[in-house]
């Protein structure tokens, strides 16, 4: 029997979004160019890095409930280096840094808000 592979990158495709800009990011050594507003999760998926998740799929806007993988952003809360499997070890090369629209950073009332996605 033939298996039809339908890759799911976790969040909707942003091609043709209001902002037509694209950004190039390097994820775990692989460069990938995606439309601005794309989630880290999707960009990673396109770069061949599969990030586990439970609550995200291409057909849904980011929901952020399973918290299976989180993104740490340098200079923001949660940047302490942790050798823990639950933290996504996906570092983005600067200055091309996407905001995380796939799964919001662990939010605390004591932190300033994260500027919306666009690098």
């Amino acid at each position: 029997m033939t298996l039809l592979r339908e890759p799911d990158h976790g969040t909707p495709d942003r091609t043709g979004a209001v902002e037509a800009r694209s950004v190039t990011v390097e994820i775990d050594g692989t460069a990938v160019t995606v439309p601005a507003g794309t989630s880290v999760m999707r960009a990673a998926g396109l770069a061949g890095v599969e990030i586990p998740r439970l609550c995200a799929t291409d057909s849904l806007e980011p929901f952020g409930s399973c918290r299976l993988r989180l993104v740490e952003i340098e200079g923001r809360k949660g940047t302490r280096p942790r050798a823990r499997p639950r933290a996504a070890r996906t570092w983005l090369s600067r200055p091309a840094r996407l905001g995380c629209s796939g799964c919001a950073v662990g939010w605390s009332s004591s932190t300033p808000p994260i500027t919306p996605a666009t690098a």
């Binding site: 980011p62 929901f63 952020g64 409930s65 399973c66 918290r67 299976l68 989180l70 809360k77 949660g78 639950r86 905001g99 629209s101 799964c103 919001a104 662990g106 939010w107 605390s108 009332s109 004591s110 300033p112 808000p113 994260i114 500027t115 919306p116 996605a117």
Partner: protein, 525 residues
């Protein structure tokens, strides 16, 4: 004719203010005195409630706490002319507890008849709004930013910056919402302000609308505050009649409509995105951020979400200028904070003071120790998700950064005091239990973590492998703090960690060993 003030604030009513007012009316009729009873807000000295005040030529003289049975004696003592009585405190504004404070946002509360338009204007009302109407939105945002005012709901985000983000957002329409879902234990400042000076909040909402270009506002009040809801609704009706709300605010081209929405008893609806969901008529579930409410908030439109005290503070900034406001406070905590003293305190109530006073000074000068007379063991600052601090931390200055560095938070300014009979392990457990009960259930660390937290603490208290379970609890706290979607799950570890840090002896399983010893008649010895 004498004017007598008896608070209609719900804290005063809960200890019999209505009966006292009725007794005064009855005695006055019997004695043939003409007395005008004004039901004011509270002077926020809850330990003196019901506080009866009499207008005398050189100021208001206070008597309290007055029971209905004391009223005849007060008349006998000539209290209508400020006569001496054992409940008398002399001039109310000279009571040290009040005189030592910096009353900026609470300057009118308790002084005026809450629903009197004349009183409001006679005590500095509308000055800020008139000034704002003569400014551009950018100027208002800049002025508020320059004052250094930070959100008083707990997060402490700069108000001016938030407003500017909404102003710059291209979408239309925009909304102004006020978060009056004051659910933190030991907090009551929002309620007292709404019950004692409702026009102040209305004026603040209109100014926020001017600053961001919004023409519609909502005040989200918790259902546990029926008196505040009634007062606010009456004030809004009056404000429409007098032209402070409606299509032409104070005769200007700016229109602003304001409505009250009442919650349904969910703590999580005090979280701003859950509050927006609830305002939209949905279940109060937290939204993932970004997008921020300032960009996509109520009905997906740019929305200001501010606490009652933040909006009230804006009036002080605009009426007196940003320099005046910024001159209060320390570091990056500018202006005054409205602290609420509660729990086991001798003198509870609202202490509005500049940031920078130490916790110890607050407890000594204002709280006056515990009500039970026993020594203080712990103080929880910032609501049910704030840290428990032991007396060794009482030198901490009350400002956002100093508290954050100490692993604590100021939050909404609630200060709850416990004496040495408190069971700290039970307090830690109650934080997790509270989170399990109040979590919206959307994200895993909060929904599952809180339940697991209760179980782990129960094992520690029972003495089951306590050391290993404390390590597990620390790990769980880290996961909840870093992984939760919002501050509910993110801050629940704060009280738990503070107990582990400051009161480790209560979390080492020794309580269980002591119990066993007691049961076995001290067999270990």
């Amino acid at each position: 004719m004498s004017t007598v003030y008896v608070p209609a604030d719900s804290a005063a009513r809960s200890v019999g203010a209505d009966q006292v007012a009725a007794a005064i009316e009855l005695q006055a009729a019997r004695r043939g005195c003409v007395v005008d009873i004004v039901r004011n807000g509270s002077r926020e000295m809850t330990w003196l409630e019901p506080l009866v005040e009499v207008a005398c030529p050189d100021g208001r003289v206070g008597y309290g706490p007055v029971a209905p049975g004391d009223v005849a004696g007060l008349f006998d003592a000539g209290f209508l002319d400020g006569g001496d009585h054992k409940l008398g405190h002399g001039r109310t504004d000279q009571i040290p507890w009040l005189a030592l404070q910096n009353r900026l946002t609470f300057s009118r509360v308790g002084i005026i008849d809450p629903l009197s338009v004349q009183d409001y204007q006679a005590h500095g009302g509308l000055i800020a709004l008139r000034r704002a109407l003569a400014m551009t939105p950018e100027q208002i945002c800049d002025e508020v930013t320059a004052s250094g005012l930070r959100g008083r709901g707990g997060a402490g985000f700069p108000v001016g910056v938030k407003w500017r983000t909404v102003l710059d957002a291209p979408a239309w329409p925009k909304f102004v919402t006020c978060n009056a879902d004051e659910g933190d234990s030991g907090t009551f400042a929002d309620r007292m302000l709404m019950e004692g000076d409702p026009f102040m909040l209305i004026e603040g909402m209109v100014i926020a609308g001017l600053a961001v270009g919004a023409h519609e506002g909502f005040i989200y009040v918790r259902s546990e505050y029926p008196d505040a809801v009634a007062t606010m609704q009456a004030a809004i009706r009056t404000a429409y009649k007098t032209g402070w709300l409606g299509p032409r605010v104070l005769g200007s081209d700016h229109g602003f409509d304001l409505e009250i929405r009442v919650g349904a008893g969910a703590y999580i609806c005090g979280e701003e995105t859950a509050m927006l969901e609830s305002l939209e008529g949905k279940r109060g579930v937290v939204r993932a951020k970004p997008p921020l409410p300032a960009i996509e908030g109520l009905f997906g439109k740019p929305t200001v979400v501010n606490n009652v005290l933040s909006l009230a503070s804006v009036l002080v900034v605009l009426a007196h200028g940003s320099d005046f406001y910024r001159d209060f406070g320390v570091g990056s905590s500018r202006g005054t904070q409205v602290f609420q003293l509660a729990g086991n305190v001798a003198r509870g109530g609202i202490v509005e003071t500049a940031f920078g006073i130490t916790l110890g000074q607050m407890l000594e000068q204002f709280a006056g120790g515990t009500a039970s007379g026993r020594p203080i063991r712990a103080v929880q600052v910032g609501g049910p998700l704030g840290a428990y601090l032991p007396p060794t931390e009482f030198d901490l200055p009350l400002d956002y950064e100093a508290f954050a560095q100490a692993g604590a938070m100021i939050g909404h300014g609630g200060v709850v005091v416990f004496d040495d009979t408190v069971d700290m392990a039970a307090q830690a457990r109650s934080a997790m239990e509270f989170c399990a009960a109040e979590s919206c259930g959307k994200c895993t660390p909060c929904r599952v973590g809180a339940v697991r937290g209760v179980e782990v603490i129960d094992r520690i208290v029972a003495g089951q492998d306590a050391a290993a379970n404390v390590v597990l609890l620390q790990d769980l706290c880290e996961l909840m703090a870093d992984g939760s979607l919002c501050a509910m799950g993110g801050l629940t570890p704060m009280p738990v960690r503070s107990v582990l840090q400051h009161f480790p002896e209560s979390m080492d399983g020794s309580a269980a060993r002591t119990d066993q010893q007691d049961r076995t008649g001290g067999a270990r010895r």
